[in-house]
């Protein structure tokens, strides 16, 4: 096996790309010289012969949403007998390719059908043609050729290959080993799937996928057997892994054998088609399940019974046709709970109409009480249509709901051009249903899909979504210069589109699309973007909505290809006649191409028209562009681990865990008896939660009288007795080696323990700042300050969010950062932080709106700005909280309390920036200073 030349098995080292990879790879870099394509030598090198597996998922209208999890992920995701193996979903349907080996009986009828089809093989191309005639296939640069080649494009599903086998030749030494005959006799290498073997399922057997070809074997010699093909019959006898050995062993002597193979590409299609109809009926929750995992089951009920609704109503009623419910253009979902909200739509229509005429401003929201539950309804009015979203106030606070409806309207416009087109065109209905299913899942399900591994990260995701999903920005991961340059270069190369097939010279014709810009996400974080801000946000909101960002973070994506026409707001704006000299966007059409591979995801915005040729009809994804993006991603593989490293240990301001600041009597003992490794640089972000670090911070004077444990001998006087004034010199000198080691490997222990000591020695009074600093050499101090956002000796920063609206990005601690901190109080704090920030931000948004209004009025009547009405915009808002651990058992003592600030700061000039920080109450912080530190060097 190992000696076999696994031709074409250019799989990723982990073999994650699955069965389909050989073909895909062939597609994406055919001119790559680094692999041996010997087995393909006889095959045509034309694209059309080697269609990518997503090709068949392209919709009539050219859209594509193809997702394939990497094999490793599938198995880890579903350790049980797999339910979902390959999931591809176009927007209105999710196709689950069930593994055939799962249930034997399913397999049997299919095989029978196969045989039937085999007999009437000639019919197949016709069917394929019919489908293609609507579709006209994917547009390629070789436009004229694509039609010409339709015949070739139609790949035969089955092929018969005659090979000569000679059983006499073999020495049957390892007869007991599985599938040996197949290998030695025919020269086909088939590996039994691990999962299958593990499960020990034998019934029905596994499909005989060709994983490799034995060099010099009959199969290879024939030149017609390719990796990925499936052996379905030998001399018209159906075979599976179960009976292949038996069948082959029946061959008495040297003879010609007819092997029937199913083409690799056809396998996919065939597997998909039978299930398609069934799945279409119950698409509900498939993507949801994929994203949210299996735990959705229980909460599905909850979602069903929570009143929630989206309505799209028309305000202009045709009085002549008094049809029931004629004003409802769209309604979702059809559950009982939402029925009630639908029935009172008269309220919404009346309010919208009346209040606007009375107040002259548009209605934004209203609140209802339904079964004692408060429901907020947000309004979005466009021309004479009204979009409404109703959600319970408990789950979704009003400010969040307002952001959400804006997001929805924006995303739908981005996807369909206008709300009318989205809701009123019948063919879009299932897609929009799917859209809102996802939307409500996101809104109502507390557990968000993310990070999979740690519940901490998941919790964080759920808590932060309240605020972060509404921010007009994309979560950004700052990277060191050299990585950034590398990413920038990769994207620039792609965008230049002046090489290979992308260049106009290659085919000597006008190119199909101009690449307007692209952006690169890693694990859901934006790492690099060459898109204008508005486009970037449009794209990011789209990705967020379809859960693509968390998906890439959670699991490595085998292959993700999304293609659709989009209507970016800054390009599709109607031209303003006021200034004829102003730049006019070309009247083009825009397409979004998203390609995901492993943790990377690249979003590319393409323009047809303008300087590229005009798009006709509904062009599907072009292989050339998909492949180039894919190639670009593959090239970035080298940076993968470096980015990941960055993600794991982000150098951005380090955080503290709230639990460390809690004073708990039993924990005090702990911290005194543990053996600390001393270090002054406590600011490490790598501090982890270990029991000893949950100790008292300030003013716990009982500590002073305790004897330190003898093990704390690494230098320094016994400060247990003398610390009363907090003025004793810091007794600790850090061995350089130790510090370096900690810096290098992020040894959590030392970081945490060091705090214990330092606090005891120097921080009896938080305002006695001097002690620690005195002892630090200047250089040390520099490092120390660079990593710390807060002032004062202690790192008191718990959390932060910094929004930069010009570039449309924000930074906030990564999931890894937060998960590392752990703690019991801390997650609550984070949750509260985000909720509070949402309220603070609502105040800021009000301010921004008033500022805008003012700016508008100033422009109109520049003379009438009297100072008396000069408003005072809110620029800073802070709230102090106190929290204590839940379930405090000790009745005698009051629970320990940690006090922290949540402060929001709004900057109006020179550019709009928002900063939200959460820090311990011990040190007075000045928000502007923190903002300066955070925003410094924050450029894409």
């Amino acid at each position: 096996m190992a000696t076999a030349a696994l031709c074409g098995s250019r799989q990723s080292p982990e073999g994650l790309l699955g069965d389909s990879s050989p073909q895909e790879d062939e597609d994406c870099d055919p001119e790559d010289g680094d692999s041996d394509w010997g087995s393909y030598s006889s095959a045509s090198s034309d694209y059309d012969d080697l269609e990518p597996e997503w090709l068949d998922s392209v919709q009539k209208n050219g859209e594509l949403f193809y997702l394939e999890l990497s094999e490793g992920e599938e198995e880890s995701l579903l350790p049980e007998p797999p339910v979902v193996n390959h999931v591809r979903f176009s927007e209105n349907e999710i196709i689950i390719e069930e593994d055939d080996y799962r249930e034997g009986k399913k397999y049997e009828p299919k095989l029978k059908r196969f045989t039937k089809i085999l007999k009437s093989k000639r019919l197949l191309p016709k069917r394929h043609n019919k489908k293609n005639s609507k579709d006209s296939g994917p547009v390629s640069i070789l436009k004229h050729q694509s039609h010409q080649k339709t015949g070739v494009l139609v790949q035969q599903r089955y092929k018969d290959v005659s090979v000569c086998v000679n059983p006499k030749k073999l020495t049957v030494t390892k007869a007991k080993e599985q599938l040996k005959l197949l290998e030695v006799l025919v020269g086909v290498i088939h590996q039994t799937k691990w999962s299958w073997r593990r499960a020990g399922k034998q019934a029905g057997g596994e499909r005989l996928v060709v994983h490799g070809l034995l060099p010099g074997g009959p199969a290879m010699k024939s030149g017609q057997v390719f990796i990925g093909d499936v052996l379905v019959a030998v001399n018209d006898v159906d075979v599976t892994s179960e009976n292949i050995e038996r069948v082959l062993s029946c061959i008495p002597g040297p003879m010609q054998v007819k092997l029937t193979f199913e083409n690799a590409y056809a396998v996919k299609k065939e597997a998909a088609q039978p299930t398609q109809k069934k799945v279409q009926l119950n698409t509900e929750g498939d993507l949801v399940k994929l994203l949210w995992g299996e735990e959705v089951g229980g909460s599905e009920q909850k979602v069903l019974h929570t009143p929630h609704v989206v309505l799209y109503l028309t305000l202009e009623l045709d009085s002549e046709t008094s049809k029931e419910e004629q004003e409802i253009l769209y309604h979702y979902p059809a559950s009982d709970a939402s029925q009630k909200l639908k029935s009172v739509r008269g309220i919404f229509l009346t309010l919208c109409d009346m209040l606007e005429s009375v107040t002259g401003t548009r209605v934004t929201s209203s609140s209802l009480l339904l079964n004692g539950k408060q429901i907020n309804v947000a309004y979005w009015k466009e021309s004479d249509k009204l979009l409404l979203i109703g959600l319970p106030a408990e789950e979704v606070p009003l400010p969040q709901l307002r952001n959400m409806i804006e997001d929805v309207a924006q995303t739908l416009k981005f996807m369909y051009g206008s709300l009318d087109r989205a809701f009123c065109q019948a063919e879009n209905a299932p897609r929009v249903d799917h859209f809102f299913e996802l939307f409500f899942q996101r809104a109502l399900l507390p557990a968000r899909p993310h990070g999979g591994a740690s519940p901490g990260a998941q919790q964080y995701e759920a808590a932060s979504a309240v605020l972060l999903d509404g921010l007009p920005g994309v979560r950004w991961l700052p990277l060191p210069q050299e990585i950034k340059v590398e990413l920038d270069t990769a994207l620039s190369d792609l965008e230049a589109a002046d090489f290979a097939e992308l260049s106009e010279d290659y085919h000597d014709m006008r190119r199909l699309y101009t690449i307007l810009g692209s952006s690169l996400f890693y694990k859901g974080y934006l790492t690099c973007s060459h898109l204008p801000k508005d486009d970037l946000i449009d794209v990011a909101v789209y990705c967020r909505h379809y859960g693509l960002l968390p998906l890439a973070a959670k699991q490595r994506v085998g292959q993700l290809v999304i293609w659709r026409e989009v209507f970016p707001r800054c390009h599709c704006r109607p031209p303003t006649d006021s200034d004829p000299d102003a730049f006019q966007e070309p009247e083009g059409r825009y397409f979004l191409l998203i390609v995901g591979w492993r943790h990377f995801m690249s979003c590319v915005l393409l323009e047809a028209g303008g300087c590229a040729s005009t798009a006709v009809g509904n062009p599907g994804p072009d292989c050339v562009y998909v492949d180039q993006v894919k190639t670009a991603l593959h090239q970035l593989q080298a940076v993968d681990c470096r980015i990941n490293e960055q993600l794991e240990s982000s150098p951005s301001p380090c955080l503290s865990c709230a639990d460390w600041f809690l004073a708990g009597s039993h924990e005090k003992l702990d911290c005194l008896t543990t053996s600390p490794i001393l270090s002054k640089l406590q600011g490490s972000s790598k501090v982890a939660t270990s029991p000893p670090c949950r100790r008292t911070l300030f003013g716990d004077y009982s500590l002073k009288t305790r004897k330190p444990s003898p093990s704390r001998s690494s230098g320094g006087p016994d400060d247990g007795g003398e610390g009363g004034e907090g003025g004793g010199p810091s007794p600790h000198t850090t061995p350089d080696t130790e510090r370096k080691q900690r810096e290098a490997d992020g040894s959590e222990e030392s970081g945490a323990l060091l705090k214990v000591i330092k606090k005891k020695s120097a921080l009896l009074n938080p305002f006695h700042v001097g002690n620690l600093k005195k002892d630090l050499s200047e250089k040390e101090l520099e490092i120390y300050n660079a990593m710390k956002l807060t002032s004062g000796p202690e790192n008191t920063l718990f959390h932060y969010v910094a929004l930069e609206t010009v570039q449309g990005i924000f930074i906030t601690p990564t999931h890894e950062d937060v998960a590392r901190l752990g703690g019991s109080v801390h997650p609550e704090l984070i949750k509260n932080f985000h909720r509070c920030c949402l309220s603070i931000r609502a105040v800021f948004q009000q301010t921004l709106m008033e500022e805008k209004k003012k700016a508008g009025s100033v422009a109109d009547h520049s003379d009438s700005t009297d100072s008396a009405s000069a408003p005072n915009p809110v620029k800073e808002h802070g709230v102090l909280f106190e929290c204590s651990p839940e379930n405090w058992a000790d009745q005698k003592k009051a629970p320990p309390v940690v006090a922290y600030w949540v402060v929001g700061r709004l900057f109006l000039c020179p550019k709009v920036q928002e900063l939200y920080v959460c820090f311990h109450d011990s040190v007075t912080e000045i928000a502007i200073e923190m903002a300066f530190k955070l925003f410094f060097g924050l450029t894409l």
């Binding site: 209040l355 401003t361 609550e828 005072n872 808002h877 709230v879 102090l880 109006l908 000039c909």
Partner: protein, 397 residues
């Protein structure tokens, strides 16, 4: 928030819930209340300043429509206006439309509660729940509320009382929230008289049986109020009480007068940055309020009051747990809230130093202090200043 907020309009509508007949309607524009009669049934009325009848009808209609379908419409917002609906005892529906800056649902809800309280105070609950003769009720309300709605329409609950309670007996303090707030308002809104004998219903304590509110003007601007049953008659009270009890107290009473708007004893040390102050005692349900702690005039007291009021509603609606006894259902949320807000500040103004103002709120035990400070006050010192001020004020309340 942080706006002057005087250029808003407030419309207050009162309708009979069952029939939808408007009982009264009040509007205020730009802070100046405008009284007008509603609807086309009153012939010869000038062009209505307020809402057209069709709008009133629709406003009530949507609420009723929802109620029939067991959906209670409670509020709606446009970009600058907030509307709140509230029905009382299934017989009276109050609707308020406010476009004042910094209005919140909470504030309007309380306003409606007070308005209903005022209605009960004046005509009694029974009259309101069993509406037999709408026209009569309308007339009564119109008369009774003529002056009252102005105070109610523009002022917020406990914050702005034209008359301050200087001293009171224990039993006076035991009055329920609505009447405790409303009685001083009532006294302030009635035309000045030497003595009054005014029938009142107590919205909380005795909504059906009327009591008598007796007032005696002791000094100009200083009135004595009594709530009592059928006895004693005013004529008896007047000479006896005045001479016997209040004659000896004349000097201290005179000393009370200049306290007036400052509401603090002369010489009480207060930081010069403080432009306005509101101290609430949540258990005693009393408050101390001033926007004129010192003589300076800029910004105007109205502006200060407005800013402080907006801040109060912001912190009460958004951050702090609601005051006990205000809303039963909301109190539960507060109890299980593990993260207790203790303080809160807000800085407004442009990036230039010295513009705008600062606001700080501090909660300590049953006391809640809100301060309006000038722009000179450093942001990081806000909490310290508030803590010291609260400490100094503690003996007073």
């Amino acid at each position: 928030m942080g706006e002057e907020g005087t250029e808003g309009t407030v419309h207050l509508l009162c309708l009979a819930a069952s029939s939808g007949v408007p009982l009264f309607c009040r509007s205020s524009r730009g802070g100046a209340p405008a009284r007008q009669q509603v609807g086309p049934w009153r012939s010869g009325s000038p062009k209505l300043e307020g809402l057209p009848f069709s709008v009133i009808g629709s406003l009530n209609g949507v609420h009723m429509f929802g109620q029939n379908l067991e959906v209670q419409l409670s509020s709606a917002r446009t970009e600058d206006t907030t509307v709140v609906w509230k029905s009382f005892h299934d017989s009276i529906t109050l609707i308020v439309l406010s476009s004042e800056a910094g209005t919140s649902e909470l504030r309007l809800e309380r306003l409606l509660q007070m308005v209903f309280g005022a209605m009960v105070l004046l005509v009694g609950l029974e009259e309101l729940t069993n509406i037999s003769n709408i026209e009569r009720l309308k007339k009564e309300l119109r008369e009774a509320l003529s002056g009252f709605a102005e105070a109610a329409g523009t002022n917020f609950a406990s914050l702005v009382v034209s008359g301050r309670v200087v001293v009171a007996t224990e039993s006076w303090w035991r009055l329920g929230t609505p009447e405790a707030v409303l009685l001083p308002w009532l006294v302030g809104s009635l035309p000045p008289q030497a003595a009054r004998d005014y029938p009142v219903y107590l919205p909380h304590g005795s909504p059906t049986v009327p009591h008598r509110l007796l007032t005696l003007t002791l000094l100009p601007g200083l009135e004595l109020c009594l709530v009592c049953g059928p006895r004693p008659p005013l004529s008896q009270l007047d000479p006896q009480l005045l001479e016997r009890w209040w004659q000896p107290m004349l000097d201290p009473l005179r000393a009370c007068l200049p306290l007036g708007p400052r509401a603090l004893p002369a010489g009480f040390p207060l930081h010069t940055d403080i432009l306005g102050l509101l101290l609430l005692h949540l258990e005693l349900k009393r408050c101390l309020f001033t926007v004129e702690p010192s003589g300076d005039k800029d910004p105007s007291p109205e502006q200060r009051r407005c800013v402080l009021r907006s801040f109060y509603t912001l912190v009460t609606a958004v951050h702090f747990p609601p005051e006990p006894g205000q809303q039963e259902d909301k109190a539960e949320d507060a109890a299980q809230q593990p993260q207790v807000p203790k303080a809160c500040y807000l800085v407004s103004g442009t990036e230039e130093p010295g513009t705008g103002w600062r606001l700080v709120a501090l909660q300590s035990g049953p006391r809640r202090l809100l301060l309006l400070l000038s722009a000179q006050s450093p942001v990081h010192g806000l909490r310290g200043l508030a803590t010291r001020t609260l400490h100094a004020l503690t003996p007073l309340l």
